[in-house]
Symmetry: none
Subunit: 147 residues, 2 copies
């Protein structure tokens, strides 16, 4: 089953709605019920998981030990940013304010597919992120995928 791919630069309309590219929407399974769970991403962006994928992650979080201080801290921060959002009839989602502020999103967004989830970035933030990474694409590939 192919994952989310591709990139798109879309606008955020006055009501805070962001279109999800139709190519990406087409990758959702029926069990996702046209619903995403948005949450604080790693690096300065928003992650959006289709509902069915999110449930798998929640299962993992459920297995954390509530008597371990670090486990507790991670679960707390992981869950506090998450929101369920349904696609409207035009395939858009409305991001909650805390996430918009965290990611620094304004008029334009960069929407990225990253296999099991979608990422929503402020375009300039993404450029900054890429520039700050020490390894370029080819080097990264060699490091991660092995020689």
């Amino acid at each position: 089953m192919p994952g989310f791919k591709g990139q798109a630069t879309y606008s955020v309309d006055p009501k805070g709605r962001i279109a999800i590219p139709s190519r990406m929407r087409a990758c959702m399974s029926l069990e996702a019920q046209n619903t995403f769970v948005t949450t604080r991403g790693f690096e300065q962006c928003v992650f959006a998981y289709p509902l069915d994928e999110w449930l798998k992650i929640e299962d993992q979080i459920a297995s954390l030990n509530p008597y371990d201080r670090k486990h507790r801290a991670f679960k707390r921060q992981f869950m506090m940013w998450a929101e369920e959002v349904a696609l409207d009839s035009k395939g858009r989602i409305a991001l909650q304010r805390p996430l918009i502020e965290y990611a620094g999103i304004e008029k334009k967004t960069l929407v990225l597919g990253s296999q099991r989830h979608i990422e929503i970035w402020h375009p300039e933030r993404f450029d900054e992120y890429l520039n700050a990474e020490e390894s370029d694409y080819e080097t990264l590939a060699a490091e991660v995928m092995g020689i």
Copy 2:
């Protein structure tokens, strides 16, 4: 099963469509469903994988650790450039704008077979690449294939 071979210089039409040489199309298996996944190549070109080959690669990507920063960075960059594109009735694919810009493609392209994938280059970029390589063909052969 023989891989993609050969080279061709084809034009890019006003809509960004590029013909895939019929010799190469003939190498695709039925499981590829006349579909390629195009993505950012290593070096300044576009890679096109038949769908079935691409899925094998995605399986490898899926095994990366989402909590490891470098793994995440690679998956993000690998997937964001990828697009599924079907061959039209005339055996062409339409490249997405980001890939065209990345590879610097204009009116003409050089299409290369490279065993499991096809490469699409701006012809001059390919010449520059060859000239910039430190080892010539014979030396490279000795280095890579062993003495």
